[in-house]
């Protein structure tokens, strides 16, 4: 019996991406990329290489300037209200969290659930409690985001993205502002999500992360890509990354230089 191939979660052909602030300015051009369901991709790039805009376009927050992009088989150029359910199969974690500062952590996490399912606040608060406990956020649940550290804000943003139980999760530089203990927690937790976490009923999750430092993401089971000079280069496995002779890649793999006085 022949094995049925995984359906492509993300399928881009000749895609060009405009900047979020000015769509006419192209940050990435000519992307051909395919992500099968259940894959874990790490996209590396230097600062201002267009990683965030590329990831936002991938999440369906903006349409490509050129080319065709199918998300779970649906062409995103035609995304509207009717296709919202398709787009919500993808969760998005912004760099820095981008939480709503006027709401508490509990309210932030509960809001998508409340809005999508028209739940009363008490019912939504009850529903988010297990996730808050899972993310060790329960003691901070009634505090507003400006009053907690970057580490916890980023974790609250992850909880907010997971509350709707997406099938794929896109994370924009999730380790960028984290301290050592939190960094380890994130790597372990993302690995559990990728393998199939109980929160998502054991279903393996498709993950795409961007980073400016490849070293923490070293893993034989992951796939890697590089954004450089407005081009997207799928690299393959970790071995391919290490063997590639690209100066930017070397820089992203190198120990950062400490300035000494």
């Amino acid at each position: 019996m022949s094995e049925t191939p995984n359906p492509a979660a993300i399928e881009m052909r000749g895609v060009s991406v405009g900047a979020m602030r000015d769509i006419s300015f192209r940050v990435v051009e000519g992307v051909d990329w395919s992500v099968a369901a259940g894959e874990f991709w790490v996209i590396a790039g230097q600062q201002h290489s267009g990683k965030s805009d590329f990831l936002k376009m991938t999440a369906g927050l903006m349409t490509p300037v050129r080319g065709s992009y199918n998300l779970f088989g649906v062409e995103t150029q035609t995304f509207g209200e009717a296709e919202l359910a398709e787009r919500l199969r993808v969760g998005f974690v912004f760099e820095g969290g981008q939480l709503f500062n006027h709401l508490t952590i509990r309210e932030n996490v509960a809001l998508p659930l409340q809005y999508r399912q028209n739940l009363a606040y008490d019912a939504a608060a009850q529903a988010v409690q297990p996730l808050l406990e899972l993310m060790e956020l329960a003691p901070l649940a009634d505090i507003t985001p400006p009053n907690i550290s970057d580490n916890w804000r980023q974790r609250a943003a992850l909880a907010r993205a997971l509350i709707l139980k997406p099938e794929a999760l896109l994370l924009d530089n999730p380790l960028g502002r984290l301290g050592g203990r939190h960094l380890q927690w994130w790597l372990r937790f993302l690995d559990r999500l990728w393998r199939g976490h109980d929160w998502c009923v054991g279903r393996p999750m498709t993950l795409v992360v961007t980073t400016e430092d490849l070293r923490p993401w070293r893993n034989a089971n992951r796939k890697y890509a590089l954004l450089r000079d407005k081009k997207f280069f799928p690299l393959g496995s970790w071995n391919d990354v290490e063997s590639a002779n690209d100066p930017v890649l070397k820089e992203l793999l190198a120990v950062p230089l400490e300035t000494t006085i």
């Binding site: 979020m20 769509i23 927050l61 820095g96 809005y115 999508r116 709707l164």
Partner: protein, 294 residues
Amino acid sequence: MTLCYAEAVRGNLAKAFKLMDTQLFRRAALPKSYTDFLGRKLFLFLLTVQGLAAFALITLGVILRKSGVARNVIRPRIRQEIARAGVALLPLFLFVALALGFLVIGQTVSVLARVGATEYLGTTMVIVVVRELGPLLAAMLVLARVGTAHVIELGTARAMGEVEALEALGIDPVHYLIVPRVIGMAVGVFSLTVYLIIGALASGYLFAFLQDVPLTPGDYFRELVGALGWLDFALLALKTIAFGFFIAIVTCYHGLAQPLRLEEVSRVAVRAVSQGVIVCVLIDALFILLYLVA
């Protein structure tokens, strides 16, 4: 809807309304002639009107289409906005009603009584307070107190990426951020205008009474009631709701519809308040025409 909205913001406002060109116009060198200057101002004015009209239509569309969506989220937010644009301003409006009564109405009553023209009292009060001064003053105060807060809150939310976060979560930013503010401000301006008018007329008589004006409370209120017609009530309601709606539209448009950097928020707030004043005066002029025609 979120993508439709995103398209509306980035597509309609950046392309159809050519806001990028608007920025170019603002940065362009000083005009060489007055005709250039006037033409540029007129063009900018038309672009702004177009943007505001589109934003108002988008908001109206969302109010109508999504009246039953996420009620458990939107209704508490509407209540919050009514409290902010209405209930929280009551002490200020009480003070302004007393001041208006003492400074303007009391003196007018006093002068009319002194020259024996109390039969014009009702008409004068209705034209000055009920039709003009009350609604316009209420709208200006709400614009200053709440409208500026709208621009700053929404501008900051946009600059901090909270609007993108709403879109990512499948929450329509117009539905979540704008609709409660528009409804709250429309209800707030209407209610506060009613309180302001009642307070000003009552305190005005009190001032006249303290000056020993020979006018009984019965005669005073009989004159007022006699001068009021059903049209005054209907147009007062329409006018104040229109004030509230358009103040919210102008302030929310400037706060939300354009991508902002944090340092731009204060400049945009000033521009929104100026345009809010102009819009209120234009609406007022339109209602004067309606009164004249009716």
